[in-house]
Symmetry: C2
């Protein structure tokens, strides 16, 4: 039914005429049309929670860039801890924060799986609305944060810290942290299942802070809970829905990620895609991995770097082009056009 | 002449009875005696610039922990850009900043190598004073920031950002960035040479932000300039002075670092030391790599993790124990004792 299902084919390792692409945070502040809608919607959370606004901004990059091969649900990874009652808010000019982070054992034991279907209905409504508005143009990607990444916010109260509170818990009270991760993994499983039932064609798990873990701790405290989610989804009847796993800063653990059951692994720009391909072979699809800051420079640098990634991946059907992290708000929109056009003209030679 | 030269032996790959250790930021805020001296000295920069205070705090961890095998100069990596005239300052509760970052081409072309011997005399005076106070107890390590890392502060005006300004320059005007890096590499070479002449027994180059570079750019924009410094030092007559190179977040580039001419490579906690050893063999010494947050937990976790690193490295003479980054200010000092004692009791079996 989809008019363009290139990305789904690539996720399954099937032959396509070119390398498909989407962009992390493709609906966002770098687009003037997004800033306009945001002005009308109010806060970022207001935008996420209103299905009409969420639909509008999700479709904006697709209207501007016909070469994009997927839409991604406009939402936030922190909707789940918010539904758990931790009180998500965005302070002006700062990242997301929680009013009631988990600071003691009592609070940890009180944590429970929310009523996902009801408390997060606004997300599933947005998925349905977007799916309808897309009218089968391209697939819609759903997403969630990884349990470890969600737990960092739930315990630290914010992101991008040194993670000292959660790490202290990890080493001194691993039982408490496992309790949090277990509840969160169950919540994420239900959350993604409802997204799929509402129309998401594939789902991605963002492990934004997995790279902060020590080598010995990545598997027990992050990867294993992502495996739980993938297994749950398979058991819940979503075996054929492709699943993408992305640990930012986790390029050194690709061999472990390969055993997760994910159909695709995201790569950041610190990872060499040629070396990554040598590790994963054609067992999974790789997604990435241009440094978002290249889009701040000029067409010469953009063309060179897009071609370099395409050439490094070389022949093969298991590569989805993307950035290695979200597009920055300072990106001139025309530079994205340059990236997409270079990709579309340079990649077909590897799909003959 | 040194009473304890274990670390120097390990840097040369010679046999020692145990695995030696020092701790990044071992003279620092986690020690009550440091906080006391700091109160008397004034600001952090006042402390760095007064050789008596710098000597006092450098020796504090050695007095408290007799199992430490090295002293490290108390100073800051940003003394060089400060000497270049960029105006280093520390805003309350924030990291270091520069009053006059490099924001345009004209400022970049005006940048020049400072009169290192004169403008940074306070550092070399501190080295001499510390060396005398140490009275040959343990070796003294000197250090500097890598050109790439210094350039991030010089261009962004501060650390820990998304590095969008320097990355934009890297991709759009690599000529300007290479100009900055060349001047900085020459400055660092002279700086480390004067530290060695003043008494430093080994030197370390801190590439704190090298891990932010894309895979293709790490070598041309960071590693190559560290190689320039190592080559310069060798030419300047410091071939026998051991050189340690540490790129935080650079564990995936160990094979490249191995070709740098460094005697030792630092590892962060995301890197598996067993795998790292398999790459570097006994060609260089490895330094690291316990997650500093483990020191916030308890003796059980500390003992387990120290032993795990020692067991992972296994037999061999080329390992200096350390954390994977600086010790945090929240570390209970007794936990350091536990780490050091576990190391000293557990490591000799691998040095028989």
């Amino acid at each position: 039914m989809l008019k363009n299902d290139t990305i789904l084919k690539t996720l399954r390792g099937e032959k396509t005429p070119y390398t498909p692409v989407w962009i992390m945070r493709q609906a966002g502040r770098y687009l003037p049309e997004y800033r306009e809608t945001r002005k009308n919607a109010g806060s970022f959370l207001d935008l996420c929670k209103n299905k009409d606004f969420a639909t509008e901004v999700t479709l904006q990059p697709l209207d501007r860039y016909p070469l994009l091969d997927a839409a991604i649900l406009f939402s936030d990874i922190l909707t789940i801890p918010d539904a758990m009652g931790l009180g998500l808010y965005f302070a002006d000019g700062e990242g997301p924060k929680f009013e009631r982070p988990l600071t003691n054992e009592k609070e940890v034991h009180k944590l429970d799986v929310p009523d996902v279907e009801q408390d997060l209905a606004y997300v599933f409504d947005a998925v349905k609305s977007i799916k309808q508005a897309l009218n089968e143009r391209v697939p819609l990607l759903g997403f969630a944060g990884s349990p470890w990444t969600l737990a960092t916010y739930m315990i630290e109260g914010q992101g991008g810290t040194d993670f000292l509170n959660i790490k202290k818990m990890l080493y001194a009270r691993p039982d408490l942290l496992h309790h949090i991760l277990k509840i969160t993994a169950e919540s994420v499983s239900q959350y993604l299942s409802f997204q799929i039932k509402a129309g998401a064609d594939a789902v991605m798990i963002f492990d934004s802070w997995g790279g902060a873990l020590a080598d010995n701790e990545y598997e027990p405290f992050s990867l294993n809970y992502m495996k739980v989610i993938i297994n749950n989804l398979n058991i819940m009847g979503h075996e054929s829905t492709p699943k993408i796993l992305f640990t930012k800063g986790g390029g050194q653990w690709l061999d472990k990620q390969l055993q997760s059951g994910a159909d695709a692994l995201g790569l950041d720009w610190q990872t060499n895609i040629k070396q990554a391909k040598a590790i994963v072979k054609d067992q999974v699809t790789l997604q990435g991995n241009m440094d978002p800051s290249i889009l701040l420079s000029d067409t010469k640098a953009i063309e060179k770097n897009v071609k370099s990634i395409i050439d490094d991946y070389g022949h093969g059907e298991r590569h989805i082009f993307n950035l290695g992290h979200g597009i920055t708000q300072f990106t001139p929109p025309d530079n994205v056009t340059c990236m997409l056009e270079t990709l579309r003209s340079h990649s077909p030679q590897y799909h003959l």
